[in-house]
């Protein structure tokens, strides 16, 4: 069992501009997810590292990304932690009766939902000479 994060990003207006410019939207999205999956994983790692008083790296090694994958019209990546290998990431994210939670997955998803993906899409449009 793994702890995974999934969210839908409101990038419709950006994709519409790309489509109107004759770009292959599916390919652009796939490329963007490919380019950003390392950044997302590193942000999780950063939150995890910053909130750890002692750092052995064991929890960090359970972090993963998977994709880009395709399911019908949906193109996505999955990020998270392999908690079946080591449940410490679960304890860090959600806490226990005796351990305060120090979330790393949900802040990463929130950052990309509110800001990160907009920056990334802005760069894509700019590279094609388009404006949002």
């Amino acid at each position: 069992m793994s702890m995974r994060g999934r969210m839908t990003l409101n990038v419709g207006p950006y994709l519409e501009i790309l489509a109107q410019a004759g770009r292959d939207v599916d390919q652009v999205v796939t490329d963007e997810l490919e380019n950003n999956k390392y950044g997302m994983t590193m942000m999780m790692w950063k939150y995890l590292r910053e909130s750890s008083e002692t750092w052995t790296g064991a929890t960090g090694r359970t972090l993963f990304f998977d994709g880009p994958q395709r399911d019908g019209n949906y193109i996505f990546i999955e990020i998270g932690a392999h908690t079946d290998v080591d449940p410490s990431a679960w304890y860090k994210e959600y806490g226990t009766p005796r351990q305060a939670a120090e979330p790393f997955l949900r802040p990463t998803l929130q950052y990309y939902r509110t800001k990160g993906i907009k920056i990334a899409m802005g760069i894509v449009l700019e590279s094609f000479g388009l404006t949002p």
């Binding site: 449940p87 949900r106 950052y111």
Partner: protein
């Protein structure tokens, strides 16, 4: 201005019957047991949503409220009603791993507040 922590504290303080709650972690005196039922809350994230004229105009807060209970998860305090009354919206919830040492079951519920 009311902080997000005040909003959560007000909500949890309105629970009836009263349930002990704490920010981050419930601490006990050395050797003392944790209560049979208690609540812990924390801020998961607070991200700007919208800007206008170089100023932030909207921000979303994500808050986790964890309910721990030795008696299981069938009958729990009505945290949803208390949080909704303070203007929060409900997010996902998940069952936490059973803690064999403290003998608590747990349920973590996420709430969002747009300010």
């Amino acid at each position: 201005m009311t902080t997000i922590f005040e909003r959560v504290k007000t909500a949890l303080g309105n629970l009836s019957p009263a349930i002990p709650y704490a920010l981050g972690q419930r601490l006990t005196a050395t050797g003392a047991e944790l209560p049979d039922t208690f609540i812990v809350y924390l801020l998961v994230s607070g991200d700007p949503e919208q800007h206008a004229d170089d100023a932030e105009t909207q921000r979303t807060y994500q808050v986790q409220v964890s309910i721990y209970a030795r008696g299981g998860l069938v009958t729990l305090p009505d945290v949803d009603a208390a949080m909704l009354a303070q203007g929060f919206t409900q997010g996902p919830e998940r069952q936490l791993l059973y803690d064999k040492e403290t003998r608590h079951f747990g349920l973590a519920k996420d709430y969002f507040y747009l300010e």
